[in-house]
Amino acid sequence: MVPSFLYGFLGGCLIGLGSLLGLIATGKIPGISGVFGRLFRPKPGDSWWRVIFLLGLIAGAAAAFQFSEHAAIFRIPPGRSLLIFAVAGLLVGFGTRLGGGCTSGHGVCGMGMGARDSLVATMIFMAAGFVTVAAFRILL
């Protein structure tokens, strides 16, 4: 039985490798909110790699869900209805584009490159996440 933190570390290394390879291949920082978000604000010749990267991401995950029992685990957190997911998606889409990045763009790529604003953004969204989960637990 492999403990979940080792799966986390191994998966994290693969996320880092995929991000690094994406950066080398395209010269663009492959934060997911930006890769996806800029499909809605297209510039000529800039959409093809985003589509290919995201198709690879979905296909890679789909394969892992099939082949790994650990990856196959999917549990809805307590009290999260579809309406909650709809509101959460709206906030995540809006917030990541206003703030210029998400867990991968700021948290992995930006911090990994030594960008100060990414460190600040990561600390803020982490803190907001902790506060929100605590508040949701109280209101639930």
Binding site: G22, W49, I58, A72, F94, A121, T132
Partner: protein, 133 residues
């Protein structure tokens, strides 16, 4: 052609990594953000592994592949407010953009709803608040 294959491989590595890491399970993400009760530290190991590989790779290879320099802008109000709103949504659903997209690969209705409204939120930020210029 070679670039396309590399981009596909990069995306696939990212997707396999997300799935293996457990971050495509929203309860595990919420378990990290929930400090009451049994705290789940997995997310910290995911970030650690990703930062280790990406960060060391970036600094070793940036000259050889003329990778872009870190472009830290000022800590603007948009950055602060945006990160707060993102964090709130992240805690609410247990999804950030990567895992939500990855969970489309198992036809999760929650991921489908989340990604749809995420697109709407992105479009509002871009069109109304002029983000992503």
């Amino acid at each position: 052609m070679k670039t396309r294959a590399l981009v596909l491989l990069a995306g696939a590595l990212f997707g396999v990594g997300l799935a293996i890491s457990g971050m495509t399970d929203p309860t595990r993400v919420v378990g990290f953000l929930d400090l009451s009760g049994a705290w789940d530290p997995t997310l910290a190991f995911v970030m650690g592994g990703a930062l280790l590989v990406f960060g060391s790779g970036y600094f070793l290879l940036r000259k050889r592949f003329s990778l872009p320099a870190a472009s830290s802008g000022p800590i603007s109000g948009k950055l602060v407010v945006g990160a707060m709103i993102f964090g709130a949504g992240w805690g609410l659903g247990g999804f950030c953009p990567g895992p939500a997209l990855a969970d489309l690969g198992r036809l999760s209705i929650e991921a489908l709803v989340f990604v749809t409204t995420m697109a709407a939120g992105i479009i509002v930020a871009q069109r109304v608040f002029r983000a992503d210029r």
